[in-house]
Symmetry: C2
Subunit: 126 residues, 2 copies
DNA sequence: CTGAATCCTCAACGATACTG
DNA sequence: CAGTATCGTTGAGGATTCAG
């Protein structure tokens, strides 16, 4: 706990944090991580399935996010088969699942805003 | 609402979002905004008071964050006095207060992680 | 006291092509 | 299928100085 009036910080993985917000943001911040986690919250997904759900992401960025999330212990990567085409599945770890409540709160706020102030658009099939 | 199987997105301020996570992250993403909002959640604060609570931020970045948050309608800026030194106070707007639940969730997760995996450090006074 | 202005760096992000 | 390699771009963030 942060003690009022004291100059106290957290050290985590050798890095100092003055605020818990910072810590969480290290894990889900950036342009893509929260979105990837959001879709994995629904269950195991393969690379191409994630790409399909997040059309705007490039394969490179998706690859980087997945490796980062795995290194952070939030997701698990399972490879099936040794010769291409291989099958790779991604899913939340138990640690990653502790984020679900937080992810829900973030999504809920965005959904409300989109519903109240935004406009729904149906895209044409290409 | 996102309709399953349909290619539906939100349009908000002229920008398209495929995912509610994206929307929220536009408002609280980046290195500083969530932290600033977190401290303003506790009540009205002046520029120097915010700076004191977020030692790592530069005045430039704090200034930018505050203007961005104000432009997004999340915080309110009140100026007292016309001749320097002026007094400027920042506080959450009603719209900004709708984020409190989300901010709490984010902070809670970070606090738990800091408590479980991190280490508490007491800094020396300079 | 509260910033704005300037200049700078660097990491995140992106487009495209290629591969085990 | 699931990426990696390479190169290019962009913009967030930072250091410093100056101003109402």
């Amino acid at each position: 706990m942060i003690v009022k009036g004291k100059n106290v910080v957290y050290r985590l993985d050798g890095k100092l944090y003055h605020c818990p917000m910072d810590i969480t943001m290290k894990y889900i911040g950036g342009k893509w991580k929260a979105v990837v986690l959001w879709y994995l919250k629904g269950g195991t997904l393969r690379f191409a399935e994630l790409k399909k759900r997040i059309p705007a992401i490039t394969e490179k960025m998706l690859s980087i996010q997945l490796h980062t999330l795995e290194a952070d212990g939030l997701i698990e990567r399972k490879v099936y088969g040794s010769k291409p085409p291989v099958r790779v599945e991604y899913s939340l770890t138990e640690f990653g699942k502790t984020l679900i409540e937080t992810l829900n709160a973030i999504s809920k706020w965005g959904r409300n805003l989109g519903a109240n102030r935004g406009e729904l658009v149906e895209l044409q099939e290409k």
